[in-house]
Structures are given as structure tokens and as C-alpha cells.
């Protein structure tokens, strides 16, 4: 088989055929065999994703080994990675339901994740400061509406100034919802456009495929 067929045409044809098949299944009643085939195809995504995860992990491990061997700055952290990787891999491969493996997940991985997630609260505060500076007319509107909604959401807001609740709810229900819905309509159209470009084989950069084209004027 030619290189172009394998690298370019085949992935695009497969994407188009299976993509259109999924769309047809969404709109039209299909025989059970086709629905079952589509379900199997969807499970392929998870399998491919898992295979890619192995590749990513192997490359990450190689990168850390190289970091240690070349004594890059803070190389000793890479040793911690290798120990943690080896420990969880051995325990996980022996049995995922093993108490030791679950202990690591419940008492180390999960709390670290939660702690990192909680960082968001602090960064949102400084981001809010950045947003709530009335540098121009638009920012001033954002500041005022943001302040009203904030006052509506905190209990003390209604106690200080009761009308803030209906005003805040009006802002959330009408101007804010209208803006969001407009955004969602635009995004949906963008997604349809993206799908058409991919299914017609015009967009293939996401596959790492490059074909020289003329410059856009």
C-alpha cells in the first residue's frame, strides 16, 4: 500500500465513515446489529486511549531516567517519581482491588488532587481583582453586575439591601443567560463546521498530516 493511502487517506476515510454512522444512529432507528457495532466502536476509543496512556507513561519514565543520568537541576525528584511509579505499578498489576493499592489512592493521590483543586479558590480571588478594576466602560459594567450578583449570593447581601436579590436574579436569568446561549449556539455551529471539515478530509492537521498549501491572501 502506498504511504499516502496509509497515512492520509485511510484515517480520513475511517473517520468519515464511522462519524457519519454515529450521526445516522442518533437520528434514525437502527437495527440492533448496527447499534451493537457502534457501541463496540465506541469502546475502541477507550482501548486506543489506554494504549496511548502506556506510550505516554513509558516516554515520561524515559524522560525521568534521562534527567537522573544527566543530573539535571532537581534530578532527585525524578527518583521519587520512579519509586512511586514502580510501587503503584506493581501493586496495581498484582490486583487493583488490593488494600495497599487502594490505600495509596485514597490516602495519597486523592488528597493531593483535592489540595491542588483547592488552589483554585486563591487564584480566583486574584483573578477577580484583575477583572474588577474599572479600567474602562466595559470593565465598569462587569464590576457593577459582578458585585450585584456576588451580593445576591452571599446571605449578608440580602440583609443589607433586599432588592439586590431580584436584581441579581434578573441579571442571571436574562442578560447572562442570553449571552451564554448565544455563545453555545456559536460553539455548536463551530463544532458542526469542524465536523464537516474533518469528514470531507479538508482538515487533517490534528492527525499530524501536513500538505503544503498556498498562502491565504
Amino acid at each position: 500500500m502506498s504511504s499516502r493511502l496509509v497515512k492520509i487517506s485511510l484515517p480520513i476515510w475511517l473517520t468519515s465513515i464511522f462519524g457519519v454512522l454515529m450521526i445516522i444512529e442518533f437520528f434514525f432507528p437502527m437495527p440492533a446489529e448496527i447499534t451493537a457495532t457502534n457501541t463496540t466502536l465506541r469502546s475502541f476509543v477507550l482501548i486506543v486511549s489506554a494504549a496511548a496512556l502506556i506510550l505516554g507513561t513509558v516516554i515520561l519514565t524515559i524522560a525521568h531516567v534521562r534527567r537522573i543520568s544527566t543530573r539535571k537541576p532537581e534530578w532527585y525528584y525524578s527518583i521519587i517519581y520512579l519509586i512511586a511509579f514502580a510501587t503503584t505499578a506493581v501493586l496495581g498489576l498484582s490486583s487493583v482491588r488490593e488494600t495497599n493499592f487502594l490505600w495509596i489512592y485514597n490516602n495519597m493521590t486523592s488528597p493531593i488532587g483535592a489540595a491542588l483543586y483547592s488552589l483554585t479558590a486563591f487564584y480566583i480571588t486574584s483573578a477577580a481583582y484583575r477583572v474588577f478594576r474599572a479600567r474602562n466602560w466595559n470593565a465598569a459594567v462587569l464590576l457593577i453586575t459582578g458585585f450585584i450578583v456576588l451580593m445576591m449570593l452571599i446571605p449578608v447581601g440580602a440583609a443589607i439591601f433586599p432588592p439586590v436579590v431580584p436584581i441579581g436574579e434578573w441579571i442571571r436569568s436574562f442578560p447572562s443567560s442570553a449571552g451564554f446561549r448565544g455563545m453555545i449556539i456559536g460553539t455548536s455551529l463551530g463544532t458542526v463546521g469542524l465536523g464537516v471539515r474533518i469528514y470531507t478530509g479538508r482538515q487533517k492537521e490534528h492527525l499530524g498530516i501536513r500538505e503544503e498549501r498556498k498562502e491565504v491572501s
Partner: protein, 259 residues
């Protein structure tokens, strides 16, 4: 047995109209009739950010946010961000900017790696691509600390935040802002658009994320498809107006959505 699943007729008609409009404009582009499109300012911003990084001798980072490609709502913006990545990586290779792409999902990692490697090859600089360092897989969770730490360590001069962004958007963009990076942010995740717009120096929002990828593709048929999407917008405006008039008049159109 019904020909169409109940409640999906209107969606099918809308989809067919939009797809037909997009294909029409793409076909016109094939025959040389290219519609005039507003130039997205973000196209120039990409060069500006990379140029700044080259001048300062500091790296440019390209971050995707959530890239769980098994989730449909994340898949579309991630693929759109991949297309812009292809353009950005190529320009980074051309200008000689140090480029770094951290990815926190295996499937997205392999794709991003292929895209960036191909971009360096296309610019005749395959040796500048580090297979272990230019695109790096960072497991989800651990990626946050790595990214924050290295942003400060390397004093990133430019950063791109394109794709499907959730709470990490605030963490990363705030740190990038504090180290003085010039930023381009873009997402279709509605609840995080305000943060990206507020913190980043330049932003693309909602549909612009998809338009940017088509625009930088340098393919007239792709950019022409954007004109077809505009037909969809007109269609939506007409439907909104009709719906508003009917709702004001007290007419119920619920039956239409049950077809």
C-alpha cells in the same frame, strides 16, 4: 416504525441546512470564489507571542486544559486547538522559539507529539524537536504542580491556553500573568471564558476557537466553511425571532420539538 427518532426532526433539519451551507461555500472556494472574512486578531498575536519569546530567549508554552478525548464536549475544542497547534509549532520552529507542550492525556499526547514533530520537520529543523522534552506527557493531577513550578523556573515569556478549559484555567493563567508571560487564551467552556478573557492579554471565545484553526490552516476551502457557519447563525436568529413572536402571542410550538 417511525423513520426518525421522535423529537429529533428539527435538529436533523437544522443540521442538514447548516451542513449544506458549509459545503456550498467550500465548493465555491474550490472554484475560486472565496468569501471575504474578517481577519482574526489572534492570528497576528501568535506571531507576536512567539517573536517576544525569541527576543527574550525564553520559552513559549502551549497548553490544552482538559484533553480527555473520550468526552465529546472536550473532543471538539481539543481537535480545534490541535489545528492551531500545528500552525503555532511551525511558526515556533521557523522563528527558533523554544516551544513546550505539556499534555495530560495519553491519546492527546500522541497526537500533539505527531503534530509538533511534523511541524519541525516541515520547517527543516527536525533536530530542534526533542522527542522527550518538546511535547511532554504529564499525568493528570501531577501536571498542575509541574506546570506552575516550571512556569516560574523557566520564566515563560509567552503562553497559549487553547482548548477545553476547566478550573485549571485560573491556576495556570494567573501564574503565567505573574511571571509576565504574554498570553492568548481561548475556550468554548462557557463558565471559564470570563477568566481567560480577564487574565489573558488576548483571547478567542466560543466559536472563534474553531474559526482560528480554520483561518490559520492556509486552506481557502477551510476558511470558506466559516461563511457557511454564518448561514447557521442567520437561521438561528430567524428561529429566535419567530419563537419570540409566537411565545409573545401565546402560541405553543412544543409540538414542533416532539416531531
Amino acid at each position: 416504525m417511525a423513520l426518525i427518532i421522535a423529537g429529533r426532526m428539527l435538529a436533523l433539519v437544522a443540521l442538514l441546512i447548516i451542513v449544506a451551507a458549509i459545503l456550498f461555500y467550500m465548493q465555491r472556494a474550490f472554484s475560486g470564489k472565496i468569501p471575504s472574512l474578517r481577519r482574526l486578531s489572534a492570528v497576528d498575536v501568535i506571531a507576536e507571542i512567539l517573536g517576544r519569546c525569541v527576543e527574550m530567549g525564553k520559552p513559549a508554552w502551549y497548553l490544552f486544559g482538559s484533553v480527555d478525548m473520550t468526552t465529546p464536549s472536550i473532543l471538539a475544542p481539543t481537535v480545534a486547538a490541535f489545528q492551531t497547534l500545528a500552525y503555532t509549532a511551525r511558526m515556533a520552529a521557523r522563528l527558533g522559539a523554544k516551544f513546550f507542550v505539556p499534555v495530560n492525556q495519553g491519546l492527546a499526547y500522541t497526537m500533539a507529539n505527531d503534530i509538533v514533530q511534523e511541524a519541525y520537520r516541515a520547517e527543516g529543523k527536525p533536530e530542534a524537536f526533542d522527542p522527550l522534552g518538546t511535547v511532554m506527557y504529564l499525568p493528570s493531577g501531577a501536571d498542575r504542580m509541574y506546570i506552575i513550578n516550571h512556569m516560574w523556573e523557566e520564566q515563560v515569556a509567552g503562553a497559549f491556553f487553547l482548548g477545553s478549559w476547566y478550573h485549571e484555567a485560573v491556576i495556570y493563567t494567573e501564574n503565567a500573568a505573574r511571571v509576565g508571560a504574554l498570553m492568548l487564551g481561548g475556550t468554548d467552556t462557557t463558565h471559564n471564558i470570563p477568566f481567560l478573557v480577564a487574565i489573558c492579554d488576548y483571547s478567542v471565545i466560543g466559536e472563534e476557537l474553531y474559526a482560528l484553526g480554520a483561518y490559520v490552516s492556509q486552506d481557502p476551502t477551510q476558511s470558506s466553511s466559516l461563511a457557511g457557519q454564518d448561514i447557521g447563525k442567520y437561521f438561528a436568529i430567524i428561529l429566535i425571532l419567530i419563537g419570540a413572536i409566537l411565545a409573545t402571542a401565546g402560541a405553543s410550538i412544543i409540538w414542533l420539538f416532539k416531531m
